[in-house]
Structures are given as C-alpha cells and as structure tokens.
Point group: C2
Chain length 374, copies 2
C-alpha cells in the first residue's frame, strides 16, 4: 500500500477548441481513467498463451464515453501482445442509463471511430447490465477483471438531509456520522459483491472520488472551496426568501468521499466479511488531477477573459450537480424551479468572472487495487 500521492496530471496539451462540448465537460474524468491504463494492463494478465474468454466489467459506466479510449488502448495492447482470448466486456449502470448511446459508440455508429474497439478488434463482445453495482451482477467466480471510475461515491440511499451544508464532507458531526455509516455499509456491500463475482486471482481496480492525505477532495484543493460556494450561494437564495428552509436542506448530495483508510478498512480487517470472502488490498494511493479549465485559463496568461473562463468552468460543475438543486425544488412549477437553478449557477459564474483566482474543479481520486485470493 503506497501512501504517497501520485500526480496523474494531464499528459499532452488540452485544446478547448477541439472536441465536442460533452468531451470537454468530461475531459478531467477521462484523463484520470486514461492514466489508469497500466493498472488495467496488469489486471488483464496479458499472455499469448492464454485461451478461452476474458470477462471484464466497467461498473457505473454512464454512456461509456470517459473510459472508451482506455478500454480501446487496453484491448489493442492485448491483441498486439498476441493474446487471442475472446473478450466479453459488460458495462453496468442503473436501468435508466442510456445503453443505446453506449452500444453505438463501441460499434463505431457514434463518436470517435478510432476507439470503436468492438468494430476495430477481433473477438470483442459488448454487453450492458442495468442493475446497480451494490448488487452481485455476475455469476460466482466468473469475472477476470473489474474496473470502476468516479462512480462509487454515490450512496445507495440518502441517510438524512444535511441541514448546515450541501455535502457530507462539510456536514456537522451527527449528520456526517450517518453518511459515514451508510458509506461504510455500501462499500462493504460493493466489495462483497465483487468478491463473489471475481475468479480466484482476478482483480478489481477502483478510482473513486475521496479525501487524500492532505484533506483535499474534489473542488477543495487549496484555492476556493467549490462545495462551500455551492452552499453559500444556495443559502443566499434561502436568506433572500427565494427558496424555503426545507428546499435549502433538501439540496443534499447523496455522496460520501471516503478516506484512504475507509477504503482499505474492510480489506485489511481479517475479521471482516470482505476479507473472509477473499478480497485483498494490492495497492492504494491518491491522485490529483488539475482542473483542465483552470489550467487552460492559467496558461492563457491573461489572454483569456475571466468571463470566458467562468463560462467553461461552471458547465463542468453543473453537469453532475444540477439535479441535486433542481430536485430540491421538485414541489415547484418546473419553469419556476429551472429559473431558480439558472439564477444559482449564474451567481457562481458571476463570482468567478469577477475574481477568477483560486476557482477550479481539481480532481482528487483514491485508487484502490484489489485481488481475489487464488
């Protein structure tokens, strides 16, 4: 177990002009995954003498876009190494996920054809599974390798509203304890399910949002504190009488950022059900990924207008946080709720445009590599 943080910062130059809006908004998440390629290559146990079927899974995949290049690289490496195993990859997410878009991308019917690995490589079969990853998703001992990125900070249920903030990382003691307990139960359930699914010797590599050795986490890495700003601006709407106290409270992210110790605990405790099920810790470390939008703004060296920067930064935050605020207003007329949410994000944009220093959405991940005992 490596304690020192590894800097998995962006490799190569990010062009904000190229690529689609979606790709831009998820550029940071994609970089983190691409940098995990060595761990995936190792987990696949590439060997020209191997036969049969390699069964892998991508847990909490969304539309498959952020991990597609990594899988394409991993499978291309496997084929280039003379490993001829047939590959069955199953993407998992909730039933409501857009699996059609995912299937089209892998077949080269949408997106970048150069990474449409199902079409570009021989013997790759792609499936979807619409059941949540807190459940066992594969028959016992049939999975060679599992992967999950930026997905398991979501809890299976909201233990309580956070009444003094919007995020558990800044909750008061009693409310924080309830989130921590739910996160502990969820993580053990996730690991028990993976322990049952994995073949002996099979690995599970997990890149999760978490809290690193320096106490840093997503959007809280030394400069402005993103979740504090979310909370302050949301509270301002309450204090101005625009939203109710109940609507303020209900804007609670159903997320928990675990520490490295919390991730490791059930894997190291020999009395835990997870340990007894045979899942072991191979490696764990934190990674820091600089916000591509902030970096681009910094590298522009004054040539970029702060408003333009704000207009790139806020959408990346909004893409994953908006539903928390809009669902807090679910008792209202939809148009009225939408106007309030627009006002909320506009106020954040204005804040950044007026004084851009320190605003960023840097990523902090805890990487956990696990193996089922042989």
């Amino acid at each position: 177990m490596t304690a020192a943080p590894r800097n998995l910062n962006m490799q190569g130059v990010l062009s904000m002009r190229g690529g689609g809006y979606y790709t831009e908004r998820t550029q940071g998440a994609k970089l983190v995954i691409n940098n995990a390629l060595p761990l995936v290559k190792e987990g696949l146990k590439v060997d020209p003498k191997s036969e049969g079927v390699l069964r892998v899974a991508d847990f909490g995949c969304a539309d498959g876009g952020t991990s597609q290049e990594m899988w394409s690289n991993a499978f291309s490496y496997l084929r280039a190494s003379g490993d001829k195993r047939q590959i069955a990859i199953t993407y998992t997410d909730l039933a409501s996920n857009d699996f059609s878009q995912l299937f089209r991308s892998m077949q080269g019917l949408a997106g970048d054809p150069s990474i449409a690995y199902q079409k570009n490589l021989e013997g790759v079969f792609v499936y979807g599974c619409g059941t949540g990853f807190h459940y066992q998703l594969f028959p016992e001992g049939t999975l060679d390798f599992g992967f999950s990125a930026t997905a398991m900070h979501y809890l299976s249920e909201k233990p309580c509203e956070i009444t003094t903030h919007c995020h558990s990382a800044s909750a008061g003691e009693a409310e924080h304890a309830q989130f921590a307990a739910q996160a502990k139960a969820d993580w053990e359930r996730i690991l028990l399910a993976r322990a049952r699914e994995l073949k002996p010797g099979g690995r599970f590599v997990c890149l999760n949002f978490g809290i690193d050795e320096e106490g840093r986490y997503l959007g809280n890495t030394g400069g402005q504190h993103m979740f504090d700003i979310f909370d302050r601006l949301w509270a301002r709407l309450r204090d101005a009488g625009k939203i109710t106290k109940d609507e303020y409270d209900r804007a609670t992210f159903v997320q928990y950022y675990r520490t490295q110790a919390e991730f490791a605990a059930p894997l190291l405790d020999e009395t835990s059900a997870v340990h007894k099920a045979g899942l072991r810790l191979v490696d764990s470390f934190s990674t820091y990924t600089r916000c591509p939008y902030e970096q681009h703004f910094a590298e522009a060296n004054g040539a970029m207008d702060p408003r333009t920067f704000a207009k790139t930064l806020i959408p990346t935050m909004r893409s994953w946080s908006e539903t928390v605020f809009s669902s807090a207003l679910s008792d209202r007329d939809p148009a009225e709720a939408a106007a309030l949410v627009d006002e909320f994000f506009q106020s954040y944009e204005d804040l950044v445009a007026e004084a851009p220093a320190g605003h960023a959405m840097d990523y902090v991940h805890i990487v956990v590599v696990m193996e089922k005992v042989a």
Copy 2:
C-alpha cells in the same frame, strides 16, 4: 422433422378489457411464445445435479415484454426442479432498442411484478446486447440455449424495392428471387453465428414468421389478405395523385417469410457451412395462432360493433407496419407525411368497419429446433 401443423391456439380466455394497450397489441405474439414453453424447458436441460452457470439468450427481444412470462415460467420451473445453476440471460436487439424499459421490467420496477423473475428468483443475472443477431454475439462455445421469436423475418438489408406490391411474399418473380437470396444468405449467417456461440449439445429454438404447408402466412390465412389490402390502399393513394410512384415503390417491407424447406435447407445439406459448423435440425413444424381481436369479435356474437372491432384490429397491424409507410414518405414535411399515413390506416379501418367478415391478423410461425453436435 414433423411436417404436420400443430395448433398452438390461444389457451384460456382473452379479456380485451384487462391489460394495457401495449399488452393487448402484442397479445398474439406473446401467446405464441408462451406456447413454446415445453421446447424451452427441454432446451434448458433442467437437472438438480447441474452446476455452474446456465447461459441463455433471447435474440431480437425488443423490450422483452412478449417473452417475459415465458422466461419467468421457465426459470421458475428450473428452480422448482431443484436446479441451482446461476442463470445469465442476455437480451439482444439493435443498439437503438429500449434496454432501459427491459431492465426495469425484469427487476420489477415496471410492468407486472409477478413475472419480474430477476427479483423473484435467486441467482438470475440479466444483460443486454445491442448488436444485431446477424453477427456472433457470444464467445465460442459458451451459450447453453438460444431463443428467438418473431424477429428473424427482418432482413439485414433491402435487396430492391418491390414495385408491384409492398411485401416479398407477393412480389413478382425477379424481385422475389432477390429477396429469397438475401433471406438465404441472412439465415445462413444467423445460423453460423449461433453454431459458433452454442456449447456442444446446446439448443437454439426459433419461432419465425413463415409460410406453412398450406401457403398461409401472417394476415393471409383464408380470409381477407392483409398485405394485399395494404398494397391496394397504398396504390389507391398513388392513383389519386396523393403520393408519387416512387413513394409507392418505397413502401417495401424489408421482410421475407421463409418456407419450412428454406429454414431447414442449410441444416440438412451436409455440404453447407452451417452443417459443417455442427448445427443440426431437431424438429420443425408450423403453428397457427388465431387473431385474438378477430376471435374476440367473433365470440361477442354480434354484441360488438364492427367499428369497435376495427379500432382494435388496425392498431395491432399499425404497431409494426407504420414505419414502412412513413419512411416511404421521408422526403415530405413530417406533418404532411403523418397525415397521409393516418389517412391510409383510416381507410383500412373503414374497410373493416363496413364489412368486417374475414378481416384478421392470424399468426403463422415456423418453429425450428436446432442443436449443436456434442
């Protein structure tokens, strides 16, 4: 090989009042599948001594609704028999298919909870595959049992427009020959893919629209001829100058109804690639399923208004045929095209309402049971 048709007619009384619109429209297709349960039970090789994973597939599944009760019954029977194998079922269809609805149904989040077998039974795992069934969809020799209902009459491409009719079953000789050749090539491709996927001893049960010993097929079973009426009413729009000759021609179903001999040919010909790949014919027979709407109307014995009957019959036809006519008008303004399609189906409804005798959409299926040599 059994040549005599077996009457898989409706068992039990169909209540048109109960159930949702969707269920009603697909009632006939569902009955055909439910009646195939004995063939599925046999194919699953239920055995309390079996271990490991039972891998099955439902090819061309749509939203999984028409086969859900059958699978629920089959898997319940398996469990009740003491067979504890973990079950991995993969539903396949085109990438554009609504897999979300399918996943919700199996988990009991939508539809009838009594047949939500993923929730109701232990050890059942559900997956989707968004690649067409003309391709190999599973690694070599890994599938225990394949099933497909009312899907493989669709061809992988349209070989030509049918200029004198809308359906290949009534096409002129030259155009019919092009459809027959495409259907032959597609069927061989489908069977070769299944031969590769199946385990030795594994079975593939296929219920396809086809032409029976008496020359009957869907909507052409002795009374009014559905496809002839489609063609006559579509030609009437052309003759009235409402659609162009080109638009008339383009309303061509990309379908072919194979005869029993055409289904059997590559399985019986020892020189064929399919035979060489080890796929063998176990059984084949035709089934006739009376149109539930016509039966309901007949059983009402004059108590049902012909217009009411027409208003139940036409939607079941329209549900699967509408896109053929609307896409023939794709060069027009969408609203204008929709109005023409409405007029077309309205004219069919009027025909039925004025003289209901003989109108029906009886189903004719060719059932083919195949096995991979052990």
